[in-house]
């Protein structure tokens, strides 16, 4: 998304957005003049501060979603940053290139969310201490060799990406009516899905029985991450059975692959709990 367009987009939903943001249209025009000159990095700040003034009633809800998202992005960003920084873990070449790309996106998401939260006048939650073994601080959980064993690393990466997709999807309804904030969240959501697809193909190339999409509630990893996949086996959407729909040859596997499922905040927090000290 071009973030420069967010206000114009909001204007289409809420014709009075400028009046909400400032009683003087001229001031808004000045803002646009300013916005086009500043670096894209400072736009989340401008965006958030304007929302703070304009939609103060819902800003607490918006903040809640953004803080939750930030916690998950901290998890992913530190995970990939440590992995790329661990010599000998990721093979040189395409693999390192891909993981570096993903690391950069996660760090960009952290920065974007922090700045947006700050511009709401709120303090971003601080980064937790992580235990990527999923050992709740013991560093001896089921993935104890996560930074020594490349396959373990990829398995945890897959879980994080697929879980991230479900987390953003679950929060979308809470952002209904927020215009640009919802769009930004959706624009992160699809990036996480692109990451998931690629990580799954990396695992496939290493012999794992996975596809870029999620089949049934199969983890391709094991029981330790089952909660991240439970519910993905859904064959019915909005009361409509997808398997063999209208006489089409749609298998159960294809029906479940065709739709990714959301998780609630509580479900996500339970999933990531072992990774947070």
């Amino acid at each position: 998304m071009n973030i420069l367009n967010i206000l114009q987009e909001i204007e289409k939903v809420d014709g009075e957005v400028y009046e909400r943001l400032s009683p003087r249209r001229k001031a808004m025009n000045e803002f646009f003049g300013f916005g086009k000159k500043v670096a894209i990095a400072s736009l989340p700040f401008a965006l958030g501060s304007m929302f703070k003034k304009a939609y103060s009633q819902s800003s607490a809800d918006i903040e809640g979603v953004l803080q939750f998202a930030l916690t998950l992005e901290y998890l992913e960003a530190e995970f990939y940053t440590r992995a790329v920084g661990t010599s000998g873990l990721i093979p040189a070449g395409a693999a390192t290139g891909a993981i570096t790309t993903i690391r950069d996106h996660e760090n960009q998401h952290v920065a974007f969310l922090k700045t947006t939260i700050q511009s709401l006048g709120k303090t971003p939650v601080s980064k937790p201490t992580f235990d990527f073994s999923a050992g709740n601080g013991s560093m001896a959980g089921p993935f104890a060799d996560v930074f020594r064993n490349y396959d373990t690393f990829l398995a945890v990466a897959q879980t994080f990406e697929d879980t991230g997709v479900r987390a953003y999807k679950g929060q979308a309804p809470a952002l209904l009516g927020t215009g640009g904030v919802l769009t930004a969240a959706l624009n992160i959501h699809s990036v996480e899905a692109r990451h998931a697809s690629h990580i799954r193909q990396m695992r496939k190339a290493r012999g794992a029985n996975v596809k870029p999409w999620i089949t049934g509630k199969e983890t391709g990893i094991g029981a330790a991450v089952q909660a991240s996949y439970d519910g993905e086996e859904l064959e019915t959407q909005a009361g409509i059975k997808i398997t063999n729909i209208n006489g089409q040859n749609i298998s159960v596997a294809a029906a479940t692959e065709s739709f990714d499922e959301p998780l609630t905040k509580a479900q996500i927090l339970a999933i990531v709990d072992p990774f947070i000290v």
Partner: protein
């Protein structure tokens, strides 16, 4: 959500495009006429241009957005059905399996929208794939990439236009699958391009596009005229 569970009746009928178009012409006319003098002037202008009220009418509000998604899924499904009918030369077994999976997903999406919309569903659209060389890997994958990236940006852009939380969640359930497709197709073309700077900006955000832009791009491949004039723009 009531509309979503209605059984599909009209959608099962074939060859009713002319009937529907005629009905929809009148509906559009009445909507514009109802807007008063300014509206009538608009209709007059629109009739001359033959654009404002011609074509398959998507509808307004959330129904309009769902029909818009249905149109895009029809396009994608038709494309992959043709791809999988006769794979491009040199297609590996792995590629055939992946492309067949994607075909099934897109058909599932298409049929889902058809049933969800029931009597509100637009008819089957006629596609135009004359610019695609289905025997060529490069041509097929380049088109697939364009369709998948377009689909992701379309759903991303449509999210904020949706009023109903249930529909928003449904769009979310589909867009991440489209993003998985997009990444895979991109990797088939060039490994590692799953989320490169063509589609992801410096904030780590994917693209979003509004319906008019999406339909402008997709129009190359859709022969049937589409009337999106009442879709929400915000």
């Amino acid at each position: 959500m009531a509309n979503l569970t209605k059984t599909d009746e009209q959608g099962l009928l074939k060859d009713q495009k002319d009937f529907l178009s005629a009905t929809l012409h009148r509906r559009s006319f009445l909507q514009y006429a109802g807007a008063g003098a300014a509206g009538i002037a608009l209709v007059a202008a629109g009739c001359k241009k033959d654009r404002m009220i011609e074509g398959v009418y998507l509808g307004s509000g959330d129904i309009g957005i769902l029909n818009y998604a249905y149109a895009l899924e029809q396009l994608e499904a038709a494309f992959y059905l043709q791809v999988a009918t006769s794979f491009y030369s040199g297609a590996t077994d792995a590629e055939k399996l992946l492309l067949s999976d994607i075909r099934d997903h897109e058909v599932a999406h298409r049929e889902f929208f058809k049933n969800a919309l029931g009597t509100m569903a637009i008819p089957a659209l006629e596609v135009d794939f004359s610019t695609i060389n289905f025997g060529s890997r490069d041509s097929v994958l380049a088109t697939a990439k364009a369709f998948e990236d377009l689909g992701v940006s379309a759903y991303n852009g449509a999210g904020a236009l949706i009023k109903d939380a249930g529909y928003l969640t449904l769009a979310g359930k589909i867009v991440s699958v489209e993003a998985r497709h997009a990444a895979l197709i991109r990797d088939l073309i060039s490994n590692g391009s799953f989320a490169n700077s063509e589609v992801i900006d410096s904030n780590g955000l994917d693209k979003s596009r509004l319906p008019m832009e999406v339909l402008g791009i997709a129009g190359t491949y859709i022969k049937t005229k589409i009337n999106a004039s009442d879709l929400p723009t915000s």
